[in-house]
């Protein structure tokens, strides 16, 4: 269970996050929405331990982030917005490369099964020749090698075709339901958010998002 308590973050005089608190349950998918520059990516980076909040505290499974960064990072899977793969490697080489440097040892068949689960079947193909959707799947598959329990995804489906988007969404739902992973997800695609998430956090208290989300039955939490 992730607990965020009164965290604030500012860059110079720009107050990006202000006294933000929320908590999540295992198996829950949280959508993070807000206009550009509202602080979605900053919040995600703070939750991923890449940035540090100015105030407040965060705990995961009862362990505070402060002083336990290394242990917390073992449980986190962070999918960056930019595709973080070796373009000149094949899918297989990418998976093996990150497995060797990761926390969990897995054999090739387990790595291949992970790719096949999200319909990434071009095992021997060079990453640079893959479609945008396939690259996004590989980006996600690499993050899942060490079996994280908290998955943080920064616009993981931006710029890809609808079919791949649906396949990634379906796979994430499976991860949340069957493996009880907590997933926090940012996107500008409101259809995707409504379809995928149990709860939506709106950063910036924008009425635009409130109006859209009120029409769905999703629980909306807004932050100023």
């Amino acid at each position: 269970m992730l607990k965020v308590k009164e965290i604030s973050k500012s860059f110079g005089k720009n107050n990006v996050l202000n006294q933000l608190s929320f908590s999540t349950q295992p198996g829950e998918i949280i959508g993070l929405v807000g206009e550009n520059g509202a602080g979605k990516s900053t919040l995600l980076k703070i939750l991923a331990t890449i940035e540090k909040q100015d105030q407040g505290c965060i705990t995961f499974d009862g362990v505070p982030y402060e002083g336990n960064i290394k242990d917390i990072r073992k449980k986190i899977g962070f999918v960056p917005q930019d595709i973080a793969i070796w373009e000149n490697f094949s899918v297989e080489e990418n998976m093996v490369f990150f497995e060797k440097l990761g926390w969990k040892n897995k054999n090739k068949s387990a790595l291949r099964a992970l790719c096949l689960d999200m319909k990434l079947d071009k095992w021997k193909e060079k990453a640079s020749t893959l479609s945008g959707g396939m690259k996004r799947k590989l980006n996600l598959a690499i993050t899942l090698i060490h079996e994280p329990t908290l998955l943080l995804l920064d616009e993981p489906t931006v710029g890809i075709d609808l079919k791949s988007k649906k396949e990634i969404g379906y796979y994430l739902k499976q991860l949340a339901n069957q493996e009880k992973k907590t997933i926090i997800y940012t996107s500008h695609d409101m259809d995707e958010i409504i379809h995928l998430c149990n709860r939506v956090l709106c950063i910036g208290n924008d009425p635009f998002y409130e109006d859209i989300l009120k029409k769905s039955n999703k629980q909306l939490v807004t932050f100023n």
Binding site: I50, I83, A84, I85, F89, E93, L101, G102
Partner: protein, 373 residues
């Protein structure tokens, strides 16, 4: 470490050709350059024909001395062939060691021992003639000295009964051991000044090693991509340790390559002076750390390559490889002091640069650890 080696192997598999090329470039190119320059030098030697009318020890000794001259290409011929080749201008001049040469030397005669022929196109007849005359002079001098010693021995009824041949042989041995013509005298406080000519095997090898090491370290720029770096906080190895681990792998590979190069160059250029292990080790460490830190300063690979070539050219020029820089280095002595090639070529360990680079590397590592804490 095993896992790191596997990941490095995946990378190297993708660029094995360029990796292998830069790895072997220093010693392959050194061998090629030296062979080509030797071939050109051989071609620019003055061709002369030598006819031996007698094959006595003295005559053979003179023949060997002439043949050892670095400026001559000596062809041993009979008189007819030699004169025919001279007419066809295939050789510059012909010298005949005449019958009775040894006896003449032993009896102290110096006239008409060698007969010389030249054509209207001979350009080196006179200097070659002078050189041969000086060699004959040397032999007659030695012979005279032998007879003088033998006479003295008789006069003083010494028990020592040295023959002419023994005295001559001993004289030659002493000449070779003492190397009187080439010895230089220095005072204890003065060091022997060495010419750091880069047109020697190790100079070329060192310059090419600098270039190849810099080009081999382009992996740092390629792998420091912001996109990939973001994955490292969630892995068991930090990015700075990943870089250091790979630096170690490259160090081992390059040291192995240096060892192989040393053996091959030594075998090919028999008798060449080898740099000491300490000199080689400090030079290689300096190159590796220098290339590593330099690559960390660049984001654009093209700029890095351009800098690498420009830097190598600068070192080649400042070490006097392309044109004499004695005037400049005499005026700016620090230039000689800071040039990393100078220490290596004069057989010293590159302590200063290695020490500075180790300190900078330590600062870089500490800063990265602090940043990622």
């Amino acid at each position: 470490m095993r896992h790191l080696i596997i990941t490095r192997f995946i990378h190297l598999k993708k660029q094995w050709f360029s990796f292998f090329l830069w790895l072997v470039l220093p010693f392959i190119a050194t061998i090629i350059i030296i062979q080509i320059t030797s071939y050109i030098q051989q071609d620019t030697k003055v061709p002369i024909g030598l006819v031996l009318e007698e094959e006595t020890n003295q005559a053979m000794n003179l023949y060997q001395s002439i043949e050892e001259s670095p400026l001559l290409r000596v062809e041993k011929l009979n008189k007819t062939d030699a004169l025919r080749n001279l007419k066809k201008h295939e050789i510059d001049s012909v010298f005949i060691i005449r019958d009775g040469y040894e006896n003449a030397i032993k009896s102290g005669q110096r006239n008409q021992l060698i007969q010389g022929y030249h054509s209207n196109l001979s350009f080196a007849y006179n200097p070659v003639k002078e050189m041969i005359a000086s060699l004959v002079q040397q032999e007659t001098g030695r012979s005279k000295a032998a007879y003088f010693i033998m006479d003295l021995s008789k006069e003083h009824s010494s028990n020592l009964s040295w023959t002419w041949d023994e005295i001559v042989e001993t004289s030659k041995m002493v000449q070779q051991e003492e190397n009187l013509l080439h010895s230089t005298f220095t005072y204890a406080s003065n060091s022997i000044e060495r010419e750091t000519s880069t047109f020697n095997v190790w100079g070329i090898w060192a310059l090419l090693s600098i270039l190849s090491t810099m080009l081999l370290f382009d992996w740092i720029i390629k792998e420091r991509s912001k996109n990939i770096k973001i994955r490292f906080p969630f892995m068991k190895i930090s990015f700075q340790n990943y870089l250091l681990g790979n630096l170690l792998i490259y160090t081992v590979i390059l040291f192995l390559m240096d060892g192989i190069s040393l053996i091959i160059i030594y075998q090919l250029f028999n008798g060449i002076n080898l740099p000491s292990i300490g000199t080689l080790f400090s030079f290689r460490m300096m190159l590796i750390l220098g290339a590593f830190l330099l690559a960390l300063c660049f984001k654009n690979i093209f700029n890095y390559y351009s800098f690498s070539f420009a830097f190598t050219l600068f070192l080649a020029i400042s070490s006097g490889a392309l044109f004499p820089v004695k005037g400049i280095t005499n005026r700016f002595t620090w230039l000689e002091f800071v040039n990393p090639l100078n220490s290596f070529l004069s057989g010293n360990a590159t302590i200063l640069w290695s020490f500075i680079l180790i300190i900078i590397s330590g600062i870089w590592y500490g800063r990265e650890v602090f940043r990622n804490a």
